[in-house]
Symmetry: C3
Subunit: 670 residues, 3 copies
C-alpha cells in the first residue's frame, strides 16, 4: 500500500482569518502543546482572496502560510471554492442552485453553486489556477483539499440543458432513452432530447425518495454525481499541471447518498472523510463507514479529515464525548485504515451556526480544559503508531455496497416504504462486527476472488456482467449470500423479466414467485431445519426451490412451509438466499452457521464485547482492542502476555479494558 | 335496471404498446387461459398516436384493435387524454397546472393538465374526434373510457379568469357574491368580479382543509369539479356524435373528495370505479364505497373498473392478497352492484413507478403462478353468475352522502379538527353492515320515500328545500336520524341563524345551545333511560328539548343530565338526534333500538360474522355469503339446505365458510 | 399609576357592517341587558370606507358611531389598516408580503401588508388622516385601536432594500457588519451593503428557528419588529396631531415572538392584549402572560382587549368554558393588572373562518343562553370593582424576559434542539405562581433595585452594560438567579470569549467548561448538600467553582461530583447558578430554599391550591382568591372573617371555594 505521509497528520481546520492577529501567536503555542503537526487552511476564503471579479489579494494567505511554515506545520491547502463570494451571486444570480421545489437560491450558506454554471466554473477555475501557481512549490503543503463536502442537487435550466447532453451521450438516440426509462408507460414517449425535463417536484419527482419514472431520477443522480465530479476534476487537473506530486483529495461523508464515491475514488489520490456519529449511532455503523471509505480505493489507507474533539452542534442532541471516547474513536479509525487524525476544528468560532461545535481550543481559549488535554495526549500517543502508516486491514469477508443500488432501491414505490438501503447493509455488517470478523466493503466491480465470503444484501440492481461474475466466483469455490429484493432490475431500473431474482436465479437455485410486504406491526415466524424458531418482518419472499435446499421455512401466514432461507451448492461454492428480513437473533443464528461453514475466523478465539481490529503488513501487526460498551471487559485470553503499547504494561488474565479504553498490541508477523 | 353488457366484462388494462410484438401473441394465449374476455386499451397513448401538433398515427392502435378483435375481446377504448405528450408542455407551458402553493408544473406524471387551458381543450378535442371518427363502427368496442381518474386542482391565471366567469354566472352581482361569501368579515368587500382571487396558499387558502373565507373555497371545489366535468362532457359529446349507442364512462374513486360524483353521474352512461383498499381498510368501508358508487345513479349496476389481482405498490405496506381474497373481494363487489370485474393490470410493467403493482401476468411471465390461477378460476366461476347482470340490491335504509357537505365540513376551522366527513358516515354505515342490513348511499336530492329509515350524519350543510323535504318524509311516516354538526349552514357556508340545528330544529324537536369539543384524551359518559351507560367523545351538543323526548343524558361534565340522544315523533314518523360522537358500543346499542323500532330486517335471522348480501330482480335472487374474518364461521341456519352455486354442494348445519371463502346461493323469488 | 378610563370598559368587537340594520337595534337592547358599556368598531372596514383609490365614504361609520353614542357606548375606534381592500392588491401587487419561502401573496386573510411598501404606507396614512380628522372631537371615542395584532414577516425586494438601509444606519460600515455577523465564517465577507440578502429560505434562513448566520436573522427580527413599529408610529403620530389626548394602543399577544414588545410599549399610551389560552394551557402560563403585559410599561394597568366569552375556533380542540370559568379568568386578568375586560366578539359572525368562535350574542340570537347570562352577570359585578382602576400589583420578585434573548436563543443550532425560551421562563414562573408569590416580568433594562430577587433563566444574550448592572444590583444586596445557557453571547450573537458564562462569570463565581446535551430519554441524577437527591435533563453544565459554593452535585455521568447548583456571595447579595434543567420537584426544592433565604413572602401563610393575587394602592387592597382546580378548596385561614365582595357573605373557616369560583376581599391598607 502507498504511504502518503511521513507521520500521522494531526490537526486540521484552522481559520486564522476569523481572528485578530494577536490570537495567531496564541494558536501556535497551543498547537505545540497539543502535539498538532498539521493545519488545513483556506477552506472558506474565496471572498477574502478575491474581492471582486478581477481582483485577487493573497496577502493574508501568504502571511498565514508563512507563519505556519515557521512552525513547520504540514499544510493541507483548501481551494476555497465551496462557498462563493457575495459579488458572484449579485452579478450572476444563475450561480445559485434551483432546488427540488424549483426555487432559485441566492447568496447564503455554502455548497450551493450550480455545478453546471459556466460562471461558477470560470471563477472557480481562475481561483484554483491562482492558488496552484502561487503555492505550487511550497514545501509545507502536503495535500490539496479541493472544495469541501461535495453534495446537493441543482435543477436549474442550465442543468436541464446539460442533462440533455449527458443523456444524449449516454444513450445516443431518443429511442434508446424511451426504452431505458420505459417511457411508453403512461404515454411519456419522447420525440426529442429537448423534451427531457429535470425530475424535481415541478417535473417527474415526487420527493427525494419517489418518482414516477425512476429511470430519469436514477440517471439524474448519476448526472449530478458526475457534474460535481467534473467540478472536482477541473480543479484537480489545474493543480496537477502545477504540482503533480502533492496528493489531491476532497472530504467525503461515509454513506452519504448523493455521490457515487466508488466512481469519485478513481479521481482521488487519497480518500478522506468526515466522521460525525450521533449520540446513538452504533459503533458498528461507524466501523462500517470506515471500511467503506477504505474500500473505495481497494483497501488503501484514508485520511480521517474531520471529527469533533468534543461535541457537535447540528444534531438534535449534541452530547459530549465522554473521557476516552475521542481517543478510542480515533484508534478505531486508525484500526480501520486511517493514516491521519484530523479535527474540525482547531479553534471554536465566535459566531454563526457552528459556534456550538466543539474544537481543540474552546471558547475559554486556554489549554486547561478536558478536551484540550485529551487531544494533546492522543497527539503524543500517535507517535508510537507511526509504523502503522500504509498498513492494510485484511479481510476474508466482503459486503457489496453500490450507489446505483442505493439510489434505485430508494426511488422505488413499493412494496414496503420502510426498506432503506444503508440500514439493510448495516444489519449484515453488524454480525461480523460483533464477531470481530474483519470485513471489506466493496463495489460490484471489485475483485471477489480474494474473499471466502461475499455478502450482497438487497442487490436490487444487477447490471450487465454481474450475473456471470458472481457465478464464476461461486463455481470456483466462493461463498455468496444475497437476500430478498435482489436481482430485480437492470441498470435502468427495468425489471429482469422471467422470474425473480432474475440473473441470480440460477445461482441461488430458487424462484421467488411473490413478495409480501408486512406493516410495522406484523411479523411472520419461521422454523429452521434443526427445529429452532425465528421471526421475520418487512418483506417476505414466497419462493420455490429450483435446486437449492431449504434451511428454514415459514411457520405462519398462508405461505407457511414455503422455504425462507436456502442454500444452493453451485460448482465448488455455495449461494445462500435469505428471503425475508430476519430479526436480529434469527439473522445471527443464520450467519453464524454460514460463517462456520466458510471457516471464517475471528480476531479472537472466544466471544467478547470488545472490538478487536488489526492492521498489518508482511512484517508487523497492530492489534487494537477497544471497549465501546458501558461495562469493563476482561481482556481476551489470546492477548494475555502481550504488552499494551500505550502504557507499556503487560496484559494478564486479570487485565480489564474500561469503557472507552483502548489497548494496542504490536506483534511481529510470524 | 338497465343491463349494459351481455356478460361480465373480465379483463382490463392492457398496454401492448409497452411491449415488443412477440409478447402480444403470448398475451392472447394467457388471456384465453385466464378466461379474460375484455381489454381496456389506449388509456395512455396520446404521445404515441400524435407525435406532434398536426400529425396523427394510429397504425399501432389499429393493429392492437385488430389483434384483439380476432380474439373476440370486448374492448373498452380509452381516449388517452389523461397524460399529455411532452411536445404540448414544451410548446405551451400553460397546459401544466399551477398547484396550491402557486408553482407551475411541467411535463411529468399524469392527470396534470389545467382543465381550463384552451390549448389542452383544443388538442384533447381533436384527439377524441380522431378516435371517435376512426373507431365509431368497430363492433368489438363495448365502452368508451374517457380520460382516467379525473381529479386534482389548478390555480393558474387562466383558471382564475374562468372562476370569475363561473362566479358571475352563479351570482349575477358582486353584492350577491359579497353576501354569499360574507365578505364584510375582515373587510373583504369586493367591488368587481376582477377582484376575485383563486383560494390557494398565495390567496385565501390555508391548506387543503382550511380557508379564511370558506365560501370561496367551497365554490372553488364546485368550480373545479365542474371544470373537469366540462372536460369530460366535451369528450363525451364528440363521441356521442359519432357513436351514440356505446356507453361512455370514466373511472371514479369511491369517496374521493375532489369531484361531486352525484353531479358527474348524471353525465355518465354507467358508473365505473377503481377499488384499492389498504391492508387495513375495514371491509365495511369497501362495501360502503361500492354502495356509494351504486347510489350515484340511483341503484344502477356499475363497472368495477380496476382492482389489483395481487398487491398494490403505492401504499406504505403493500401486502399480498391471501388465497381467496381476490375472488371474495370480487364477489363482494358483485353483491354490491358490479356488472364487471376488471383488473389493473393484465401484464406488469417492466419499469417506472408501477412495476411493483400486481398484474394477472406477473414478471415471471407465465401462467404457473398463484395469482394467475386465481384469476383464471374466478373468470371461470363468473360464467355461472351471468343472470345477475342488471339485478338490483334492495335496501330499506339509506345513508345520505353529499360532496357539498364533505367540502364545507372539512374547510371549517373549529370546533374540533378531528372531525372528518367520511369517517363520520362510515361509523353509521358500519352498524348496518355488521347487522347485514342492506344500505343505499343516497344524495340529499334522492327520493327518500322508498326508505323506512334515512340516516344523515353530520348533515352540516342544509341547502334550500331540504328542510321541507325531510319534514314531509318524516310526517308521512318516515324515520330519520341525524347528529351533532347538522343543520348548521346553508349552501354558501353561512350559518342558519336562530339556533342550531337551524332548519332541522323543528323536525328534531330540540335546540342545541352550545357545542363542546373534546380533545382526543377526553370523553364524556352518558346514561340511557334503561339505566345502561355509554361513552361519547369529539363533539358534545348541549341541547334543550323542544318537543322531543330524551333517550339518554350525559352523566359527566357540567352539562350532566342534559339530553344527548333524543327522539321526536313528527307526524306519522320519528326523528332521532344524536348529540355526540358515540363510542362504537354505545352507537350500536342506539342504532339497534332504532332499527328494531323501524322493523328493519337483516338478511339473516341471527347474528353472524359473515357478510350476507343479496342481488335480485323480480324473478331471482343471488345470496352472497362471504367470510372476511380470520376464523371459519358456521353457515347461518337460514341457508341450510340450499346449494352453493360455486361448488354445487348442499349446505348443511355443519357447513363452515372459511376465511376468504364465498358461498353463493341462487333462489327463485317466491 | 395612571388611570386611563373612568370605569371598566366592558364590551369590544362589534361589526354592525356585517349585519342588516334591523339587527342593530336588537344589538343595542342586548348590550344593555349584558351591561356592556363599550364597543370597538371599524377594525376591518377599510374596503367599506374606501371603495377605490381616491374615494372615501364614511356614511356607514358615521351612522354606527351616531347610534352607539345615543347608547352612550364608550367607543374604541379601529383604524382599519390591518386588512387591505382588494383593489390595492389588484393595482399594486407589491403590497402583498413575500413569505419565508419567497412566495408573493395576494389579496387574502389579513395582516399581510408588506410593512415597507410605500403604497401601503401611503394609503394607510391617508385613511388614518381621514379618520382622525373626521372623528377627532367625538366625545364617545375613548381610545384609538391602531391596526390589529401586528405580526408576521415580509422578505420582498423592497424589504431587502429597507433592511440594507437599516443595517447601514446601525453599523455605519461594512467592516462593522462583517464583524457583527462574523462573516469571515464560511467566507461570507461583504464588500458592500448591496450584498446583503434577506435571510429567508432562499437566502441564509433554514427555517424559522435556524439560520447559518444567526446575526443576520437576529437583526432581521429587530428590523421587522421596527418596520411594523414604524407603521404603528406613523398612524399614531397622525392621530396625535388631531387628537392628542385620547390614548392610542394596539392589541398585543402575550409571549408572541415576532415583536419586541418592550420596545413597542414605549410608543403605546396603554398596553392592550388578547388572551386566548388553549384547553390545556396552565393557568400559571396565563398569569405569566398578564404579568408580562403589565411589565411592558413598568407595572401600568393594561387593557384586556380580547378574550372569548365561551369557546375559540382556531385551536385543534375548542372546548367550552365551564360555568364560572369566564368570570374567574376575567378576575384573574384584573388581579394581574387589567383595567378593562373586553370580548372578541359581541355577535358571532354568520360566515367565514370565525363563525365557530364564541360571542356574547350567539347564533341563537337571543339572551337566553348560558354564555350571555354569564357575561351579563360579570358586567354587573364589575361595577363593584371600579375602585381598582389604576391600582398596582406589587412584587418583590422579578423574572427577566427579553425578546433579543428569545430570538437569539431559538436561532441557535445546538446544543439541544428542545430548548425553548418561553418554556424555560415559565418553569421558573410556575414555582412562584404556585406559592402565591407575586412576580413582575421585566426587561434587562428595567430597574432591578426594587426587587429582593431577580431571576433570569437562560440569559443567553448579555448585551453591553448588563454585567455591571447585575453586579451592582447584587453587591448592593440583591439576590439573583441564573442558569445554564446564560452569558453566552453578545447582542450580535457572538460568543463572550474566555469561558462561560462570560460576563456573568464573576458574579456567579463559577466557570462552565463544557455543556452536555441530553436526549429526551436521558436524565442525570444529582445530590443536594442535605443528602436529598434530584433529577435533571436537557442541558448539563460541567462547571468549576471560582468562589461560589456548591449546593448540589451531579451523582451520575462522567461529571459525577461536579457542582450543578451553586451560590456565590457577592458583595451584600447572592448569585445562584443552576447548571442543568431541573425536573419540577428538584427545581421546587431549590427555589424553595432560595426563597426562604431571601425572606420572600407569599400572599397566604400556608400552602393552598388556590391562586391568591392582590391589587392595591396606598389606601386600599383587593384580594382575589380563585380556584382553577377541579376540587373545591377551603379558604385560607388568613381570610376568615373577611367579607366576600361578590356575595356580601362573611368568610368562615368552613367556607370553600368551588372550582372556577372567585372570592374577592376589599381591605383598607393599614
Amino acid at each position: 500500500m502507498k504511504k502518503m505521509f511521513n507521520e500521522f497528520l494531526y490537526g486540521r481546520d484552522y481559520n486564522p482569518n476569523q481572528w485578530p492577529k494577536e490570537i495567531w501567536e496564541e494558536d501556535m503555542r497551543m498547537f505545540r502543546l497539543a502535539n498538532i503537526n498539521s493545519t488545513t487552511i483556506n477552506v472558506f476564503s474565496w471572498a477574502q482572496n478575491q474581492p471582486s471579479e478581477n481582483e485577487y489579494d493573497f496577502s493574508q494567505l501568504d502571511e498565514i502560510i508563512e507563519r505556519l511554515s515557521q512552525e513547520n506545520s504540514q499544510i493541507v491547502l483548501g481551494t476555497s471554492t465551496a462557498a462563493l463570494p457575495a459579488w458572484m451571486f449579485m452579478r450572476y444570480p444563475e450561480v445559485g442552485r434551483v432546488d427540488f421545489e424549483g426555487r432559485r437560491h441566492t447568496f447564503s450558506h455554502r455548497h450551493n453553486a450550480c455545478p453546471n454554471s459556466l460562471v461558477y466554473q470560470k471563477y472557480a477555475k481562475n481561483m484554483v489556477e491562482q492558488l496552484a501557481q502561487r503555492y505550487q512549490d511550497h514545501d509545507n503543503i502536503v495535500c490539496w483539499h479541493i472544495n469541501n463536502e461535495y453534495g446537493g442537487e441543482c435543477y436549474c435550466e442550465n442543468c436541464q440543458k446539460a442533462f440533455r447532453v449527458w443523456v444524449k451521450e449516454k444513450y445516443g438516440t431518443v429511442e434508446a432513452v424511451n426504452k431505458a426509462w420505459n417511457m411508453e408507460f403512461w404515454g411519456h414517449k419522447l420525440y426529442s432530447f429537448d423534451e427531457i425535463v429535470v425530475p424535481n417536484l415541478l417535473g417527474d419527482g415526487i420527493h427525494s425518495e419517489a418518482a414516477s419514472f425512476t429511470g430519469i431520477s436514477l440517471d439524474y443522480c448519476r448526472f449530478m454525481s458526475d457534474s460535481l465530479l467534473d467540478n472536482y476534476k477541473m480543479e484537480r487537473d489545474i493543480i496537477k499541471r502545477y504540482d503533480p506530486d502533492t496528493p489531491c483529495t476532497t472530504n467525503l461523508m461515509g454513506t452519504f447518498k448523493g455521490l457515487d464515491y466508488f466512481k469519485w475514488a478513481k479521481e482521488m489520490d487519497i480518500i478522506s472523510w468526515d466522521n460525525y456519529p450521533s449520540y446513538n449511532t452504533p459503533w458498528s455503523f461507524v466501523a462500517m463507514s470506515h471500511d467503506l471509505m477504505r474500500g473505495l480505493k481497494d483497501g488503501q489507507p484514508f485520511m480521517l479529515m474531520e471529527q469533533t474533539p468534543s461535541q457537535q452542534n447540528w444534531q438534535p442532541y449534541n452530547s459530549l464525548k465522554k473521557p476516552g471516547q475521542m481517543s478510542t474513536q480515533s484508534y478505531q479509525t486508525i484500526a480501520h485504515g486511517a493514516d491521519t487524525i484530523q479535527f474540525f476544528q482547531l479553534r471554536r468560532s465566535v459566531g454563526a451556526c457552528e459556534k456550538f461545535h466543539g474544537a481543540v481550543i474552546e471558547h475559554a481559549g486556554h489549554e486547561h480544559t478536558r478536551v484540550f488535554q485529551e487531544v494533546a495526549s492522543l497527539g503524543s500517543q500517535l507517535r508510537k503508531l507511526q509504523p502503522i502508516l500504509g498498513m492494510e486491514k485484511k479481510s476474508k469477508v466482503a459486503i457489496v455496497f453500490d450507489w446505483d443500488n442505493y439510489w434505485a432501491l430508494e426511488f422505488t414505490i413499493g412494496p414496503n416504504k420502510n426498506l432503506k438501503y444503508v440500514d439493510q447493509i448495516h444489519q449484515y455488517y453488524q454480525f461480523f462486527y460483533d464477531k470481530n470478523i474483519s470485513v471489506d466493503m466493496i463495489s460490484p466491480d471489485s475483485d471477489f476472488s480474494k474473499y471466502d465470503l461475499v455478502v450482497a444484501p438487497v442487490l436490487y440492481l444487477v447490471k450487465e456482467g454481474l450475473k456471470e461474475k458472481l457465478e464464476n466466483y461461486v463455481s470456483a469455490g466462493g461463498n455468496f449470500i444475497t437476500t430478498y429484493m435482489s436481482g430485480i432490475v437492470n441498470e435502468s431500473d427495468n425489471v429482469h423479466l422471467g422470474g425473480y431474482p432474475g440473473p441470480l436465479r440460477q445461482l441461488a437455485g430458487i424462484w421467488v414467485e411473490e413478495i409480501d410486504a408486512l406493516a410495522p406491526e406484523q411479523t411472520n415466524s419461521l422454523k429452521f431445519n434443526d427445529g429452532q424458531t425465528g421471526t421475520c418482518a418487512l418483506l417476505c419472499d414466497l419462493m420455490h426451490l429450483e435446486g437449492a435446499e431449504s434451511l428454514a421455512v415459514y411457520s405462519s401466514n398462508f405461505y407457511k412451509e414455503m422455504p425462507v432461507i436456502t442454500r444452493n451448492r453451485f460448482g465448488k461454492g455455495n449461494a445462500w438466499y435469505i428471503g425475508a428480513q430476519l430479526e436480529p437473533k434469527t439473522l445471527y443464528k443464520t450467519l453464524q452457521e454460514i460463517t462456520a461453514e466458510c471457516n471464517l475466523s475471528s480476531a479472537v478465539s472466544e466471544p467478547t464485547e470488545l472490538e478487536v481490529s488489526i492492521r498489518e503488513n508482511e512484517y508487523q501487526r497492530f492489534i487494537f482492542i477497544m471497549n465501546f460498551g458501558n461495562e469493563e471487559q476482561v481482556i481476551p485470553k489470546d492477548f494475555v502476555g502481550s504488552e499494551n503499547l500505550l502504557t507499556g504494561q503487560k496484559l494478564t488474565d486479570a487485565t480489564v479494558v474500561k469503557p472507552y479504553e483502548t489497548v494496542i498490541i504490536s506483534e511481529v508477523v510470524s
